[in-house]
Symmetry: D2
Subunit: 387 residues, 4 copies
């Protein structure tokens, strides 16, 4: 189905093939054992939805040149190319830059390699293309990326409530004055899409067991960095463990090369090597992650009372004979805030039956999706008990 040429060469390129070795949902398979699908599979899905979107918009009379179509397809394909393994944990502990920036730098490299043929894709990805609807298809509040990952993550996790009617959403798309719009008839489907997004956020992406596993990994990597402990680490992982923050400038290309060779295997191997580290904390965390002996986690809609936290940290010091600052890492507070729909951002646009184009927040029943929900998490080692 994929025509020979630039796109096929990009798919077969090592920068894209590495996504095969990175799980889309990181550690979530601890909770949802089927959720081991790769970022490669997701990227192919986004590519497919983009090709359907282009087909539908052309059928509705939108002029989209071959070059523009290719640009949009490549932007769809590569939109997540900058993701590393276990994204959040690594970004929070080891990597000096975040994945969107890396994606752009990967695109630049590929553009150089393919003689400037990725220009349109880069403009679309960066949101600078004159055909604004192409940018919105790649990055917007209702783009083909989200359509694919909600359905895909729902499918592989088995959380059926997260599935969306992407087929109907695609069919209801059109372009009005250069912007992506949805016909009013799609109203209920859009509301359902936001509901699915919210549900997947809390039920899967922020599932408390996934949170705690991710925090343990982050703690482990930060600890290794703190100790300069790299035994058995792959060269690339060792590079980032040993990277000093002040090294950041001027070594961007080197860092990108190193980044390009890290995937899930580097981290998983390192975890296994750390199980018998002489540092007790490293070993505790590594063993916990491999044998599913997770830290405990409490979830609350409110901030945890200071005395509850203090009590746990004191227990921690007592039980693990650790220092105050270590106790602060081990008994850890975090929070997550989520707004399924952001009326302050570039809004989803609805075209009414009378041809008017209105922002979704004015015409759909989505007021409750504009509210931010917040959850607080307190994680702490097994052996302690919360008040």
């Amino acid at each position: 189905m994929i025509p020979r040429g630039l796109i096929l060469e990009l798919i077969d390129h090592p920068w894209f093939q590495r996504l095969r070795r990175i799980k889309q949902l990181g550690l979530s398979d601890f909770v949802y054992p089927g959720a081991v699908h790769s970022r490669f599979h997701h990227a192919m899905g986004v590519f497919h939805l983009m090709s359907r979107a282009i087909e539908i918009l052309r059928m509705k009379g939108q002029a989209i040149s071959e070059e523009e179509a290719e640009g949009a397809l490549i932007a769809a394909l590569l939109h997540d190319a900058g993701h590393g393994p276990f994204s959040h944990a690594l970004e929070n502990s080891l990597l000096p830059i975040e994945h969107e920036a890396i994606t752009l730098r990967i695109m630049e490299r590929l553009d150089a390699e393919f003689g400037g043929r990725l220009r349109p894709a880069m403009e679309i990805f960066a949101g600078n293309h004159p055909k604004r609807f192409l940018c919105q298809l790649v990055t917007g509040q209702l783009d083909v990326d989200r359509m694919d990952y909600l359905n895909r993550d729902s499918f592989y996790s088995g959380v059926v409530e997260g599935s969306i009617g992407y087929h109907r959403l695609l069919t209801m798309m059109d372009v009005d004055d250069g912007r992506l719009v949805f016909e009013e008839k799609a109203g209920l489907s859009i509301e359902n899409y936001l509901a699915a997004r919210r549900l997947m956020y809390w039920q899967v992406y922020m599932h408390k067991t996934c949170i705690v596993a991710e925090q343990m990994l982050e703690l482990l990597l930060a600890r290794a960095k703190h100790l300069g402990w790299t035994r058995g680490a792959s060269p690339a992982l060792a590079y980032f463990i040993e990277l000093k923050e002040k090294d950041g400038t001027g070594k961007q290309e080197e860092q990108l090369d190193m980044f390009g060779s890290i995937d899930d295997a580097d981290v998983e191997m390192f975890l296994k090597m750390a199980t018998d580290a002489e540092d007790g904390l490293l070993a505790l965390l590594a063993n916990g992650l491999l044998s599913r002996k997770f830290f405990k986690v409490k979830v609350s809609a409110q901030v945890f009372p200071a005395h509850e936290v203090a009590d746990l940290r004191e227990q921690c010091i007592r039980v693990f004979a650790c220092r105050v600052e270590e106790a602060s890492q081990l008994v850890r507070l975090s929070q997550s805030a989520f707004t399924p729909y952001e009326p302050a951002d570039d809004e989803i646009l609805i075209r009414t039956k009378t041809g008017q184009v209105l922002p979704a927040s004015e015409i759909l029943s989505i007021g409750h999706f504009c509210k931010t929900e917040q959850r607080h998490f307190m994680t702490f080692p097994p052996g302690l008990s919360a008040l």
Copy 2:
């Protein structure tokens, strides 16, 4: 899978088998061609979910006697036995009583026939059984009836957004102080269930084309009754067409017998016979329904302005040379109001992690589901044009 005995005899009974010949969604297959599943199939589904619910509650330690279980299963099986063909249209035009009342009278007959063995089922169906949770499983704001029909109607219509995670909902059920409760972990699934219920209501059950088809059928039957026109009607359908309201009393058993022999075929045959009725309106409606030439319909969140209605009725009189009162029937106003969750009713109960039992409206994000949404419909014959 269904053990021999009373339940199997009820399933094979003509009162239950007739549900095979009644489509669950009446005229909706005009819009969703796959939605031709029968009320029989739905009833079997509700029966199945009830058997799963009983199994799960027993596993959680609830004592449910064999007699109670049988009662709940029979109540589940027969809960819709009183539905006639094209339910709303017939109830609004021909039938003197509504389907819940008929269900009870059918149960009484079966109880008599089976020597009083339906008593527990009747208590459960009527909401009088001492084990209140059994009643709530059959009729509540989150009962096995709704679980089945949302998923089934979603599946057969292809409106995927209406599917719910019934498996998870069943697993999260328990009983507390005699009442049905759901564990707090099911919170997002319950919110999704309400969202699915709302979506299915507007997208399928109140789809404007279904509305207009139903109103045409209702109009046709009312017209036939008004004219006393029964040509080609089956004896039972003719009986209800000719029934005078004052006949209602004292002939309940006769009416029930007649009702028991009507199904979709009676109405469909009558439609075909009416296509060449000498009465122009009858013929217009019948031909419209059979050849998919529907009346037009306008939908609005507000009441239609009086002058717009008046204008259409005047056109109607002009075009069809009809009388004022007929024009009022042909240009017809109706409305639908829906509240996905009724905090004033018997609430869905949630048991928190700490064991507290709270009404759903206090603990879940469902405020927006407690609001009533309203849509106004104005239907009018083809050939007229709205302002």
Copy 3:
């Protein structure tokens, strides 16, 4: 998705809309309660697969003109337009001609109505179009009709083993020297398709309970014809009950008109009316069908021994006090023979990796599908017992 124009007008035409009121699988929902999908839905599916096939063949470089494409789509849409309700039972008892011939006559009528625009479709349907592959797509040993009904009947009956990989089959299609060919890579999928066809034949289409229900309906209609019993029959059904064989000639148009107004409702209403016929046999059959009190059935790979049949017929005479010839109808022998793949017919063609085109029987492992399997059925009224 369906462009305005001739095709949409045909879909909205009464000759096509009547397929909404005819179940694809007749009485099979007695066994598989979900299998109530209509011939309309199947025809739309065949239409869809044809449009995909055309798209794929064009992508592979086949020149298919707009006129040819429209012809193929219409032929796909109307290929079953001549089916009546409960096809086999009616064809065996009442109707003077079979459904393929009726389909052609319906096409002729529509061709006249639409000013000769159905010519290409008729050529394709009749197998006379110069582009032979278009004919093969509509009627062949691996056509879009079979692809749709196997998958659809499998889906709605729940017999999952009958599903086929139609997507892969379509993708592997090409045209070689004017004929439809499949790439060798599709070999296993074709073998699986034949296996699914065989399984569906015996598990669904020839399920013994479906067989017995169909025979009861056939017997009932034949009995009504024999008696000239038409009470409560619709005018069209009465017409065919009273039709004498010698009437056949010269009244073809009248018969077609009558045929066009019969659907499932006519037969179902007639069944209900016959439940209290004065003729014992009519009443027995009608009640049996409505209350699921079926005749018994024995299935065997061999012909039933003469003395076993004789014994049952004697019991029949004794128990029902009927005449010898009636006993022969009530204790009835039939048989079904099926060959999943007919090497003597126009073969499925395979194009090998080296570009050679060979008949499937020479290159695939389908020898066992070329054998004819036979089953014998003996049906007899309840109350008798086989040796």
Copy 4:
């Protein structure tokens, strides 16, 4: 759903949790990108089907004690515990023993750890349990292992034709004279199961691209062993690379420990490290596997002619300047033979309607599944061209 106790402890045990990190289908995701499901997920599925089977057999009146049920469930859970990463490639190149033997040794260890409580499971797994049907459920020609993996691999690969009606198969199970039997009504489902098994074998498990990837991995590991090249290998992988065959005896426990810590990550990391090995062949193979530059492969039903092989090997020597014996490894012949049903093994037993128990080969249409199909593969490096 899984009760606390021994079974849950086994699931959480490191020996079982490691299966999370081993893909069920090894390198097949190069062809079927969704097929990345783990052996852990499969083992849980087999466990689930076993629990359903026990439930059904008990409902049919078979006495199965709690201890026997637990044994069967544990045997189901652990039946594949001895699989390493990329099973076939590693077993052919590095590991001294095969996975069934390792499974038994793991069970022995766990048995010791849990105080002899795995005895019944071990008897069932080894086929020595007095209740023969329990053994047949775990290992037989129609066992819960095969039921799960056919359906699971079909689902995740997207090869829909491989799905089977496991629900029906389970329902049709019974025990007769201590042996597992299937009711005759399941005949078509069993035939379909064998067809699915055959299709999955050739379409997925022996897909030519999977074959070639596996052979490249095997070649790479054998080469590393030959060279004693372990740079960047994990300690456990290095152990097996350096293991001499004569070391095999007397070090079984040490080997098992090492084996227990290897999973997909060890191999994937090693591949990445080998991409810049100084040995040209190692580097060629590693790069090929990571960038999807596979060797070429020819498939044939016949043995490849000697001169064709010789020609390729000569090219190989010329192009890669390698030695004769290396050319023999690079241009490699292999073959696969498969018999979907082995009438010589413990047969699937069918109970006829009359209660007779017969082997499947006598009563079902499966003659063609008893034939062995053979395919020959010739793989060779890119750059060469076959005659």
